[in-house]
Symmetry: C2
Subunit: 145 residues, 2 copies
DNA sequence: TATTGTTATACTCTATAACTATA
DNA sequence: TATAGTTATAGAGTATAACAATA
């Protein structure tokens, strides 16, 4: 009887919630770049995928309030990682774009991440990796559902 | 060639990191109990599983520094959700136990979680749930590795 | 009048450093 | 001398409320 048991899903959500909260605390410390907060990194990742976006769009994607995104974008601009330009059609809005420096930084951080990954790999077997790879897209979907 | 490609794992970790950070922000808002922070909830969950623990043990399990756990335990005690007793063998340590009120609260919160779960269920198909259930224990392992 | 983004301010959570008590 | 927990303090990140400019 491989049916969809609500109880099993509730247990999974319970376990997921706890794991996500704990992992997020660890990830906060294991920063690939010391000068960038997790949300700043996440914004750069979004820009790398989507090309460019307005502060409002970024706030919605990162699940952060507009004033918080204002601050984050300002910090990234001060570090020379994004550029702010006027919106071509709506003068209230702005367009945020990543700089060449941000691309170089993302490449560098990818190398550091791989080092952390190597450490983790020692403690996970192939079956566990398989489960993680399978679940990753679902977690991403949940994150911006 | 379904072999263990390091590159695939790196991509999965990348995606996981982003999803975990975003999900943790959403979970922060979707609190089952308005008066309890995510870490407070997590501590109660740990106590429900392990019975009782010292503040130091809880700090290690939650990946939080001892002074932070002192504060969290004090808040839980003020809300009548845990009891603090002297350690029977070592007078430096204390023993934290959950109260009957905490058990009732966890039961109540379970009902609220199910409501949130019902909302999510509408957007995930059975294959996606299967992947989440399979990955949940791995994420828990990562969380306290 | 509604919407985008900003400024000013306050709150929550966690960390570090220094201290007390016990081992 | 080392360890468990606490107190005091500071910092990071985010939120809310009020405001400006534009639609």
């Amino acid at each position: 009887m491989p049916d969809l048991s609500h109880g099993d899903n509730a247990a999974a959500v319970n376990s997921l919630r706890s794991a996500v909260m704990r992992l997020s605390r660890r990830l906060k410390h294991q920063r690939v770049d010391e000068s960038l907060s997790p949300t700043e990194m996440s914004v750069l990742g979004t820009l790398a995928r989507c090309g460019s976006a307005t502060p409002g769009e970024l706030a919605r994607k990162e699940h952060v309030q507009p004033p918080s995104m204002t601050r984050i974008v300002a910090l990234l601009e001060a570090k020379g990682l994004v550029r702010l330009e006027p919106h071509p059609e709506d003068r209230r809005q702005k367009v945020v774009t990543q700089t060449e420096r941000a691309e170089a930084m993302l490449e560098e951080s990818r190398r550091k991440r791989n080092a952390w990954l190597a450490g983790l790999a020692a403690d996970l077997d192939e079956d566990e990796w398989k489960r993680l790879r399978a679940a990753a897209p679902v977690l991403e979907k949940l994150a911006h559902l």
